[in-house]
Amino acid sequence: MYKAVIGLEFHCEMKSHTKVFSNAINGFSKLSNQLVAPLDMGFPGTLPVVNKTCVKKAIEMAMILNCKIPEYMEFDRKNYFYPDLPKGYQLTQFFNPVGVDGKVVIEVNGKEKEVLIHDIHLEEDSASLDHYYDTSNIDYNRSGVPLLELVTEPCLNSADEAIEFLEYIKRIYEYTDISDCDTKKGQIRADVNVSIMDNDSKELGTKVEVKNVNSFDSIRKTIEYEIERQSKLKSEGRYDEVVQETRRFDDETGTTIHMRSKADAIDYKYFTDPNIPKYKITNELLEEIKKNIPMLAHERKNKYISEYNLSEYDAKVLVKNKKVSDYFEECVRLGADAKSACNWITTKVLAEVNKSDEITIDDVFIRPSMIAELIKLIADKKITNNQGKEVFTKMLEEHLTPVEIVKKYNMEILEDDNLVNSLVDEVLSENEKAIEDYKNGRTNMLDYLVGQVMKKSRGKANPVDAKNKLLEKIK
């Protein structure tokens, strides 16, 4: 009914050995306040020293997003007072972000969509707070963890477009190893800006910001809820009730709730941090970073289609998750036929992964070497396709390799020609009626006879071979 206009601010925790401005470890600890350097607590006399790996990864991301990259890396102070921020300011990039004016093209429901990037900047995370009845507790492990914040222009028009864009960005982070984007560890958060306008209007509507939405599912629900809420008010002639405000998403009700109005907006009084000297981004550094950008998801997809003749659909399924794509590539590297590997992964292996939200393909017992081994057993006609499926199931149940399963259950196809011939003779002598029926036109009796040979061989005869032998002898 109305046109929705959406802009996103997407925060993502980066992977690095140490934090962005201190040399405390950037990691996950079950023990509170374990990974903390004096700077992360804002102790007097401490100074920030910028982590080179974080800077390089930030520049890499800016390059991938086709952003303009500044001559210098500089940081600014965002001043606000809150217990999760011991210094009283957050180190971020306000005046001169690492990337501005970028652009990417994504595919949404089969159509191309251009997404404009306002900027991407490197900053530090705050400490984390746990809230109790009348107290809040502070854990500084997260204080100083490197964050990349990506800000789009208000150029998205539906929840589908927003989620597709975020999936695209998440894949880049994963493929470049910039971040794991693990929602369970709270590594991603988004601020979602939503407004609506008449379809033929050129004037943007009143913008509502929803802060700190921490999963893709919640982002989708936030957008859909806000579009519906604002559209309803507009349809009822109450659009003046849509005010410029900050809201939060409530998981339990699936709605958004007022937090503060524009009048209460905090003035962060940004200024350039004088404690961090500016760092020259040289052409040599840019070249080095560019040279080392790995093959991204859409590039791998194109390779799978052109080099391995996979369908677009299968290629998309494989590259959707880097771990799955890596698993597939490892199978191929170990000599597996690409199409067979793709079939086993997309049908059987991913079925296992999809049984639980708690596991990834790395948790499945069956490794790429085993898939390659299984494919080889079938290709070498040691086992049939059907036996292959049985082997797969038993591998999962018994944690054995394909060769071990085949050996344990004596599944190898009979290669002894004399033995198969004698089994065929036995079946023919015991089934004169079936042979007669076959000769009288009941062609399905041949399948019955093949089945009898398979039964006598306990499934170990090659059914094609058995069929040929039967045909030869019936003539």
Binding site: H17, N23, K52, T135, S136, Y140, P274
Partner: protein, 99 residues
């Protein structure tokens, strides 16, 4: 006579999400007056509006950053919590900050 009223100082405190005692308010008012005097001194400098904002005391840039390979020593927990007036287990405890 101060240019800063009680209401103004309370408003600033609200924006910083802090509450002030009467004694603290008076102390801040005195400090603000001193700061304002210094600002007036600076404002008296001729053509001050034409001077560009200076982020660093002198022109400087670095060509090397910190290597990510070497981690430093973390603060022992008793040191980390030493300045906190209230502690719960390994964490710093503050009055509840969300409704």
């Amino acid at each position: 006579m101060s240019n800063f009223t009680e209401e103004m100082i309370d408003n600033y405190a609200d924006k910083l999400l802090i509450g002030l005692t009467e004694e603290e308010r008076k102390m801040i008012q005195t400090e603000f007056d001193d700061i304002e005097k210094d600002m007036e001194l600076i404002n008296d400098i001729p053509n001050i509006k034409d001077v560009e904002v200076l982020s660093y005391p002198f022109e400087m840039e670095v060509s090397e950053l910190r290597s990510d390979d070497n981690e430093g020593k973390e603060i022992p927990i008793d040191e980390l919590l030493r300045n906190a007036s209230r502690v719960e287990g390994r964490e710093v405890e503050v009055p509840k900050v969300v409704g």
